[in-house]
């Protein structure tokens, strides 16, 4: 078996399988939580839940990543904030706004969008890799993170790191032949897609649960979330 057919497999049928597994897995996780039962809040509110929810998302998107003003939180957690913030920025830029990835989205969704120039996404990919390394070191050294990090979280790191480095290596033709690197990249992406519904990378979905709950809790009490 040569690299070309390996590549065909991992960007063809196996990619399709991974995507379907991802979609089915996430749907299962979503439905399971929804079906666990939600009781209606019967307590009269002092303020507006909707306003609270809106503020909660604004805080989540703007304030927490860029202005972690809550006292004593940034100190001692600089690596978490900086590493986490840069990683998510890089992830967004590379996965959504790089031309090759947008083309993949376009083939799946049927429509595309403007992308960032290559040097920008390329640098951001490197930033993402560095951020991941920072986060790894942070996780290995921070006393709280050492305590709460169990095997699945370490696996998460490896599985997220691999698509980044293989993708970067592939665009820069580092080490192996292009087809080989491309195949490894696709393998890593497929593994990632399969792993997401099984672990905590799925937080991008449950983010919407917890931030909405947080906003509603604050809103009904008429305080800022």
């Amino acid at each position: 078996m040569d690299w070309t057919s390996i590549l065909h497999f991992f960007r063809g049928p196996f990619f399709t399988f991974s995507l379907l597994f991802f979609a089915a897995g996430m749907t299962y996780r979503l439905i399971r939580v929804l079906l666990l039962g939600w009781s209606r809040d019967k307590v009269p509110s002092r303020g507006s839940k909707a306003v609270g929810v809106a503020k909660s998302y604004l805080k989540g998107v703007i304030i927490l990543p860029f202005i972690p003003w809550v006292k004593r939180t940034f100190r001692g957690n600089a690596m978490t904030y900086i590493g986490g913030g840069l990683f998510h920025l890089a992830l967004l830029a590379v996965v959504v706004f790089s031309t090759p990835h947008m083309m993949v989205w376009k083939s799946l969704l049927g429509f595309g969008w403007p992308t960032l120039p290559f040097p920008v996404t390329d640098w951001l990919a490197a930033v993402g890799i560095v951020a991941l390394v920072i986060l790894l070191i942070n996780r290995m050294t921070h006393p709280v993170l050492k305590l709460i990090t169990k095997a699945p979280i370490w696996i998460n790191w490896v599985i997220v790191f691999l698509p980044f480095v293989t993708g970067y290596a592939m665009t820069h033709h580092l080490g192996l032949r292009y087809e080989s690197l491309y195949s490894l990249h696709m393998m890593a992406v497929d593994v990632l897609l399969i792993w997401i519904p099984l672990g905590r990378i799925s937080h991008f979905l449950f983010y919407f649960f917890s931030r909405t709950i947080h906003g509603a809790q604050a809103g009904k009490r008429a305080v800022n979330p």
Binding site: K42, V43, T73, V144, I148, S210, H214
Partner: protein, 418 residues
């Protein structure tokens, strides 16, 4: 048996509301730095995420695919009795359920309420610290966690009324407001009763206290014992129904306000048409409506600050009222601590922690952060609207030999009345 009942209790608590939040945790560990217990000890076990992990473990084993698979293969690690005992210390002695952690969580997870659920499970397993449970048993049997009997309560009310020459109506039907005090106020801060009585009289508000619903504190709520929580709440709701009042005014007590205002309606039938409100709101409304007049600048000497109580401000919403009052009473002297309002630092005495002797050293160590906060702005006095906080402040200020004066805002309002 212990283990089993605890597990069952946890699992019963898990609905979508809890599960959705447990699933959202990314294990970033930021909540630790919001927790004053972690900050003073540097012990990672005080991280809120770690305290909640017991609930997470139960959830995973019972509800998640991988967790169930592991269990089926015999790979799941059961929760041991030793672990439960350790967790009991963490969540009862090392957590005031102040929910500051939720304010820093990037995902917005309500860690406070989740820790309340952990407490509930441990309570079901019989793992409540002895002192806390003793107070709960006392409240159940005698009607007051401090052991104030019916007779002692009657005598104390009469004594306060006589000593300060105030009118404190007892079991008066058909009035508008039922005022419920805590035993802490009755025994340790009688001036709170005096202040309320004087303010009510000045505002011509018809009100009463009730001998049946005489305790506002709910120790079962600290424990997370739902049935007993309802029983204690019902004593007051029952009295309110019987007396035909329009509203229940919670005195300076935080957890009680949470229980009556934000929790009762979702765990039991509450009497319809009876509003639950807090004394700081009532006083504020009287002042705004001109029913009481306050001397402007009555406390304008030195520097005075306000302590936000977690259950009345961050989790209660009464952030604006005390500030407007202070801006009037002490326009130049009033100075905010940092952080304040929703982000305020808990005093360390809430959630029943103050009643646990074994937690004393930790509780006072935590208060050191509050002293530091007050010293930073050069505060000579601090006021608050929660007697539980006030007890902690009084003790803490003495412990640190700080000269800061500790005051209740209601008392200050009364003394500034024209």
């Amino acid at each position: 048996m212990n283990k089993q009942s605890a597990m069952n209790a946890y699992i019963k608590e898990i609905g979508g509301w809890v599960a959705g939040q447990l699933e959202a945790c990314t294990r970033c560990g930021l909540c630790a730095s919001a927790c004053h217990f972690y900050q003073v000890t540097d012990d990672p076990e005080y991280a809120p995420v770690w305290k909640v992990s017991l609930l997470g473990q139960a959830y995973q084993q019972r509800f998640t695919f991988l967790g169930r698979l592991r269990q089926a293969l015999g790979l799941g690690r059961p929760i041991t009795d030793e672990a439960l005992e350790k967790w009991s210390k963490l969540v009862f002695e090392g957590c005031t359920v102040c929910n500051k952690c939720a304010m820093v969580c990037p995902m917005g997870i309500q860690l406070g309420p989740l820790i309340h659920d952990v407490r509930a499970g441990l309570t079901a397993a019989g793992l409540v610290p002895a002192d806390l449970h003793a107070a709960t048993v006392k409240q159940d049997a005698i009607g007051s966690p401090l052991g104030v009997t019916d007779d002692a309560w009657q005598e104390r009310i009469d004594w306060i009324a006589e000593e300060w020459e105030v009118d404190i109506p007892k079991d008066k039907k058909g009035v508008d407001t039922l005022v419920v005090f805590s035993s802490i106020e009755i025994m340790k801060f009688p001036e709170n009763l005096v202040a309320v009585a004087k303010i009510m009289a000045k505002a011509s508000e018809s009100w009463t206290v009730s001998s049946k619903g005489r305790e506002v504190v709910n120790f079962a709520f600290f424990e997370g014992d739902r049935e007993l929580t309802k029983k204690f709440l019902n004593r007051v709701f029952g009295a309110a129904r019987e007396l035909g009042v329009k509203r229940i005014m919670i005195s300076e007590c935080g957890h009680a306000y949470d229980a009556f205002r934000w929790t009762a309606g979702n765990i039991m039938e509450v009497p319809k048409g009876i509003e639950v409100t807090h004394v700081v709101r009532v006083v504020y409304d009287f002042w705004k409506a001109g029913r009481i007049r306050l001397k402007k600048g009555a406390y304008d000497d030195g520097t005075i600050t306000f302590h936000d109580s977690c259950k009345i401000q961050r989790r209660g919403g009464h952030i604006k009222e005390p500030r407007e009052l202070l801006a009037w009473l002490a326009p130049r002297a009033f100075k905010e601590m940092s952080p304040a309002r929703e982000q305020s630092l808990c005093c360390g005495g809430g959630g029943g922690v103050i009643s646990i002797k074994e937690a004393d050293a930790l509780r006072l160590a935590v208060f050191g952060m509050k002293v530091e906060q007050m010293n930073k702005i050069g505060a000579q006095a601090v006021c608050m609207v929660c007697s539980n906080c006030r007890l902690q402040f009084t003790e803490g200020v003495a412990h640190y030999k700080s000269g800061i004066q500790v005051r209740g805002l209601t008392d200050m309002v009364f003394k500034a009345m024209e």
